[in-house]
């Protein structure tokens, strides 16, 4: 489809996220990316679960299915198995995808069903009005944890990598690089997992202030680019070097080259980030090529009679009838 623009992907439906919600930026990034890559809206499907993020399909002028809490991967898997030619996106959040629906997410990634999963992580339950979520840091005070949550949070990208994801990436709602990350996911031939950092201005404002604020981002974010040195900070004055079982801060000269096909390095970066030694990274962390679900074999026709007699059929002759 040529000559598409962002408007072709917008619906009549009034967008009803809260003012200032990060979801607006993600919606715009998606519409922009689909238009710029000339997608046919009738060949694109958004399947979502329940939560603020899961309203997303209503605002996309494509096919859309707003399903059940946590179950979007199930519905999307059935659809994709039967209709492999469609471009199918799963929209989920930290509650929907990592709590009630974590099981399904793991199996979708393991099976490498070529679905594109966008997990909007705002570290809070928004639609139910502010309870701590599986990604809320320890000590998060919320309506259901007035004294601060004692639970340890889960890192979405670590889970995805452990589940056998063949594409793991991260973006930030307001980052101009987000459409490029979405496009990389779209082009990946298998299952793609993208964590999108998303601000909830009502229940968890500024949870990601250090990486989301445009001025702060330059000094706090490591943008991963395949084949380029992992450098970051003002004028790229800082680097990350990954060796087997070691990561360390270094000068740009000695920084490792990002290799998105290197699983061990991806794991090291994740562990390093958790330890606080590697800055918050964005971009494509990891990608591999692996088999996707097989195509249906060629259909045999006119075999019903043969199939009905499979096993051991016998004849009763006319003679033995009354």
């Amino acid at each position: 489809m040529s000559g598409m623009n962002k408007k072709d992907f917008e619906t009549q439906q009034e967008v009803r996220w809260c003012p200032g919600c990060g979801d607006y930026a993600i919606l715009a990034a998606m519409q922009k990316m689909l238009a710029s890559t000339h997608q046919d809206p009738d060949q694109v499907v958004f399947v979502s679960g329940i939560g603020c993020s899961s309203r997303f399909p209503y605002y996309m002028n494509t096919y859309g299915f707003h399903t059940l809490h946590g179950r979007a991967p199930c519905v999307a898997t059935g659809l994709k198995l039967m209709r492999p030619e469609l471009s199918v996106w799963v929209i989920t959040g930290d509650g929907d995808g990592l709590s009630i629906g974590a099981n399904h997410l793991v199996h979708l990634l393991r099976r490498n069903v070529p679905l594109k999963v966008l997990l909007f992580n705002n570290r809070i339950y928004g639609l139910t009005k502010g309870q701590y979520s599986p990604t809320s840091p320890e000590g998060t005070t919320s309506k259901s944890s007035p004294a601060g949550s004692w639970e340890h949070p889960l890192d979405p990208c670590s889970l995805a990598l452990a589940a056998g994801a063949t594409f793991v990436a991260r973006g930030i709602d307001v980052d101009s690089q987000l459409p490029a990350v979405l496009q990389a996911a779209q082009e990946h031939p298998g299952a793609a997992f993208v964590e999108i950092i998303q601000n909830c201005p009502v229940f968890n404002d500024n949870a990601f202030v250090a990486v989301r604020d445009k001025a702060a981002r330059a000094s706090h974010v490591l943008p991963l680019v395949h084949g380029q040195k992992m450098c970051w900070g003002q004028d790229n004055q800082q680097g990350v070097r990954v060796k087997p079982w070691v990561w360390e801060a270094c000068d740009p000269l000695h920084a490792s080259v990002h290799d998105q096909n290197n699983r061990a390095q991806a794991q090291m970066l994740l562990v390093g980030e958790q330890a606080g030694d590697v800055p918050f990274w964005t971009g494509v962390l990891y990608q591999e090529q692996r088999a996707t679900p097989p195509q249906a074999p060629e259909r045999k026709r006119d075999v019903l009679q043969v199939l009905l007699q499979e096993g051991q059929a016998w004849q009763v002759a006319e003679a033995s009838s009354p």
Partner: protein, 610 residues
């Protein structure tokens, strides 16, 4: 030795052994050989939930009952004429099934104090039996090992040929041909010539030993029943369901999805369907019960019909997703093989207690059609009806089979017209004007415009909608209108649902209403009623929701109406609520089908009170 061949009208055989003894396989072969010999047959598999319980213990006993007859039969019969017990535990568990004066074939190699102790009994019990039945003690284990000794099998492999040796004996005793089982053994063990030869030898050895030994002074013959001419095969309910799926698939351009999560006794459907990927079926083993149902809805959004198959707890887990199917109005079939519940219950035992869950198990007003096949072979048509109903009314449909039907076998004459219902293809273009929730004036169903259809992009979901446009709405009047429209499309044209089976006069003393696997036993009870001068009829429902209001008039023409079911009276309560008639429930919940004797006694009491 010379023996006399006696003619019998019918025989009931019960095979019992450890769950690893190959009892079910032997039972299936005896069934097939009896059917091929021209008898009508009925079977019931009674097996434990444990895969390989400790050998020789009573809780690991696997049983298989077969009735073959020279006339048409509808049940597996009551007590058995011959009981094969491969160890004391099998004997202790199954003995109540043996009729007075029946034949007990017992493995004398398992007659040690230790074997009896494992069964919680003593060897003296066997001697005591001499007065009650004819005990035929045969060293089955030793004879099997000797027979197959030249084939280079390990001891455990050799032992596992014992079921074939027993089969050979039974084939001689009842004059059954060997060749069907021989053909089956050749195919089953084609990959392992030693096992193949071992089993063939054991089968032949059993036959010859029975012929030459002195265990059976008499042999028996059951004349062929009179069957309509045609091609026959033996089918279980699960087999017939998948054959029905293949029949519908043959009418469709698009593949049908069958999704399941392993669960007894429904897994068999997934296993069988998985072999037919070239015949228009795609199978998907989901990560859980919820995912299987979700995948079927996803397939439907893409324009493909789908079936999820499950049992017991799986029905509970799928309810929320069924509700989404009701709300989104997508075609889907949920095939439930009922088992005794709640929770894990008795996974391998039969019950019909999921009716309330099927009719009323979802939050909100969320009725779906509920269908139930009456016999194993009826599963063939029912699968086609279910898929067609789902498409025609754009709704999830639940089918309630049960453990007795799913694993019970009967002879089935292959229909000349195997296609009984054809679901229409989805819309190839969106209708004009394009309103995703506009309704067909006749059926009340909305259009089915699959994802990927040009110019058809639209959004659906679990939120309430504006009539016609389908736009999200939380206005009370929209909710009420849509709710009524969803109910109407289920309730309209009840005659389009699978029709009930009726037997007997239109008015009389007693009407027996039943559904599912009780069909056969009610039919036999009806014969007995008639023989006792009770004017009785049988109404067997194959559509359980919605209840056809026209049936109420029929029911009112009887003095007394009873409802027979394997639960605590669920259909009875539904009919009473719908019809305001004083229907009585005859129920049983012991994980076993009704026996004719029990049902007859209950019916007799019911009619005496009339």
């Amino acid at each position: 030795m010379a023996s006399q061949r006696h003619m019998l009208e019918q025989v009931v055989v019960y095979l019992a052994g450890d769950s690893g003894d190959g009892i079910q396989v032997a039972g299936q072969q005896l069934t097939l050989s009896s059917a091929v010999a021209g008898n009508d047959v009925h079977t019931f598999a009674d097996y434990p939930a444990e895969i390989r319980a400790p050998a020789g213990t009573t809780f690991g006993i696997s049983g298989f009952q077969l009735r073959f007859a020279a006339d048409h039969i509808h049940t597996v019969g009551g007590s058995c004429d011959v009981l094969v017990a491969l160890n004391p535990a099998a004997l202790v568990v199954s003995l109540p099934a043996l009729k007075e004066g029946g034949i007990l074939i017992f493995d004398t190699d398992k007659n040690t104090e230790r074997d009896w102790a494992k069964a919680g009994a003593s060897p003296s019990q066997l001697e005591a039996l001499e007065a009650r039945c004819r005990v035929v003690g045969v060293p089955l284990s030793r004879m099997t090992l000797e027979a197959v000794s030249t084939h280079g099998l390990s001891r455990s492999q050799s032992r596992r040929c014992k079921n074939c040796l027993v089969l050979g004996m039974l084939y001689w005793l009842y004059d059954r041909p060997l060749h069907h089982t021989q053909a089956w053994i050749k195919e089953r063990f084609a990959h392992d010539p030693a096992l193949q030869q071992g089993n063939l030898t054991a089968l032949q050895a059993g036959y010859t030993l029975a012929q030459n030994g002195e265990w059976f002074p008499n042999t028996y013959r059951v004349a062929p029943a009179v069957f309509e001419a045609g091609t026959y095969r033996s089918v279980t309910g699960n087999q017939a369901a998948i054959l029905g799926l293949l029949a519908t698939a043959s009418t469709q351009e698009r593949n049908i999805l069958l999704a399941g999560y392993p669960i007894t006794p429904a897994s068999d459907l997934l296993h069988q369907a998985a072999r037919h990927q070239e015949h228009g079926i795609t199978t998907f083993q989901a990560e859980d019960e919820i995912a299987a149902m979700g995948a079927v809805l996803g397939a439907a959004f893409g324009g493909h019909l789908g079936v999820a198959c499950t049992s017991g707890p799986g029905l509970d887990l799928k309810q929320e997703t069924l509700g989404l199917g009701v709300m989104a109005e997508l075609p889907a079939v949920l095939w439930v093989v009922q088992r005794a519940g709640p929770a894990t219950g008795m996974p391998t035992k039969v019950e019909q207690a999921d009716l309330n869950a099927a009719c009323f198990g979802r939050h909100g007003q969320a009725a779906v059609p509920v269908l139930a096949p009456a016999t194993p072979s009826d599963h063939f048509a029912m699968m086609q009806h279910a898929l067609t109903t789902a498409r025609e009314r754009m709704t999830p449909v639940i089918v309630l089979s049960d453990g007795a039907l799913a694993h019970g076998a009967e002879p089935w004459r292959l229909p000349e017209q195997p296609i009984v219902a054809v679901p229409a293809a989805p819309n190839s273009t969106p209708p004009e004007p394009w309103l995703p929730y506009a309704r067909d004036p006749k059926t009340g169903a909305r259009p089915w415009v699959p994802a990927g259809t040009p110019q058809g992009a639209h959004r659906i979901g679990g939120l309430e909608k504006t009539p016609e446009t389908g736009a999200v709405s939380s206005q009370g009047v929209h909710h009420e209108t849509m709710m009524r429209q969803r109910r109407h499309k289920i309730e309209t044209d009840p005659q389009r649902y699978p029709e009930p089976w009726w037997s007997g006069p239109e008015r009389g003393d007693l009407l027996v209403i039943a559904w599912g696997s009780t069909y056969g036993v009610v039919q036999e009870a009806l014969r007995r009623c008639n023989a006792h001068g009770i004017v009785a009829s049988h109404l067997h429902l194959r559509t359980l929701w919605p209840i056809d209001p026209g049936l109420k008039t029929k029911a009112r023409s009887f003095q007394r109406v009873v409802c027979v079911e394997l639960n605590e009276g669920q259909l009875c309560a539904i009919l009473r609520a719908q019809w305001l008639l004083p229907i009585e429930a005859i129920t049983q919940t012991q994980g076993q089908p009704f026996s004719l004797e029990v049902l007859w006694a209950a019916l007799e009491v019911a009619t005496c009170q009339a």
